[in-house]
Amino acid sequence: MLFTSYEFLGFLFLLFLLYYIIPKRYQWICLLCASYLFYAFSGIKYLGYIVSTTCSTYLVCYKMEKIGEEQKNYIRLNKERLTREEKKSYKIYMKKKQWNWLLFGLIFNFSILAVCKYVNFSISNINNVLQLIKSNSRLPFLSIALPLGISYYTFQMMGYAIDIYRGKYPAERNLGKLALFASFFPQLMQGPISRFDDLSKTMFSAHSFDRKRIFFGLQRILWGFFKKLVIADRILPAVTTITHNPENYQGVYVFIGMLFYALELYADFTGGIDMVIGIGEVLGVQVKENFNRPYFSKSIKEYWNRWHISLGAWFTEYIFYPVSVCQPMLKLSKFSRNHFGEAIGKRIPVYLATILVWLITGIWHGAAWNFVVWGLMNCLVLLISQELQPCYRWFHRKFHLEGKWGFRLFQVVRTVLLMSSIRMFDCYRDVSTTFRMFFSMLTKYNFMELLNGGMLKLGISAIDYGILFIGMIILIGVSFIGRSGSVREKIAKKPIIVQFLIWYGLFLAVLLFGAYGEGYDASQFIYNQF
């Protein structure tokens, strides 16, 4: 059930009515039922997957907490009798028991994800190797459909389990509440990957009918619809035409396709997240922001701190840090310092953990070599820019350009172009085609074709370009205004007639220029595929 479908709007409307009619203490149960109903729409057979992840995580966390309580009680009762060394070795023993439970949970749940998402990718690679060694045998592909949102809820639940292992907060004892945390329907499709301590603050509490909050939520949903239906879906045909026909569209078309895709992905993904946050607001559940004006970033590192924030934070907290500061890594770093010098030794943990994180980030985005290369390209750019830090410092000391308007604009444009070119791996069918198309931008000079009507042969009309241009201006304008605080708060302070004109204008724009007009069909959200 797509967010942009009539079914979803009907579902949301009925839920909204029910949610504020029933006694407040049952609101979270109502949300749980709605979430499972929403999930069942994607196929009742998939419910088993999310139920097993929920139950296994519940069991693992319950066991870890019980071990923690047992340890506390034992130490309290034997405080006088135990020596410092005995206490320490007992704690290590109990931590090991907790670790075994955590490991079981991680292996069980990531195995489900791996089988559902990556088994056919592995079979395809094995078959390629068999073909290479001229063997006639081939492994058959398995028919496994991907359960809705499996990457999101698995990561979210495993993050929760790791937090419990670390003793960050107590485990949730109510299975129903944990089930709601896993299945909360707005964020099942495209995230964000929420933390239990963030979401639980508002998810299980009673919510009154707060007119301002509900209006703000509806405004945010409308803004999401505008981005998705008026911008992303309108530019989609041009992106598809260029990237699905690499033989016909090269040179300057690749450049145009790259920029169009940057706009499409931004409008699609941030629009979807606007809807998620807006639906959350309507229901009184505060979902954290997942974007912070990423296209205003001055470097790739900054960009990744502002784009898909929850995924980046998950990887940093649960993979990058544990891998880079684990005992074997610290020992390796010390060994390298002694044998290969200070410079190499201190880089080892950062480099190895960064490569691993980006490899996994790539694979997380899709079971294809395109995404692996995409991840490694991001990693390469990040590490090169890290190595160039002394050069940047020298440059700024020498030329005093830092903070100047023109230089900042240069940095922003550079980051957008760099990110857009790396993202070409998303669009083309394979790695070699992507490289070929990238180099065609540098070698094929067909700029004049664009001026001779080439732009109108991409599947979108002059009117579409006009609408896209105005849409982009609105998008950039809103981003600029949002730098100094909530745009909705600013609008709410305007006279009522101005407020009405703005929101009614946006509503009309969605109605007239969105998926409901001119024969467009709302397409799947790009990030739904995860």
């Binding site: 670390r166 003793g167 960050k168 590192k301 701190n305 940093t316 907290e317 990058f320 840090y321 544990p322 880079s324 500061v325 684990c326 005992q327 610290l330 770093s333 010390k334 310092r337 030794g345 201190k346 080892i348 943990p349 950062v350 953990a353 960064t354 890290q386 410092r393």
Partner: protein
């Protein structure tokens, strides 16, 4: 404390680590810096800072980081 300050100053010579107490909040140090720092601390103090201790409160200032090192040394 002086040894720790020397490590921090080598990482970011432009920052006054004696007074700054918003190192993480103000993004003066990032995840790469934190990992380099932990590796240096391990080499200098022989203290391993586990991943669960990597929270802004422990890395926001040189003093907070020094307190963390002392606590981990005591626990060891």
């Amino acid at each position: 404390m002086e040894e720790l300050l020397a490590i921090l100053e080598e990482l970011h010579p432009e920052v006054d680590f004696r007074t700054c107490c918003t190192l993480v909040e103000d993004k003066i140090i990032d995840s790469f810096d934190i990992v380099s720092l932990i590796s240096e601390i391990h080499s200098e103090f022989d203290v391993a800072i586990p991943a669960e201790e990597i929270i802004p409160e422990n890395f926001n200032s040189a003093a907070a980081l020094y307190r963390l090192i002392q606590r981990l040394e005591e626990e060891d």
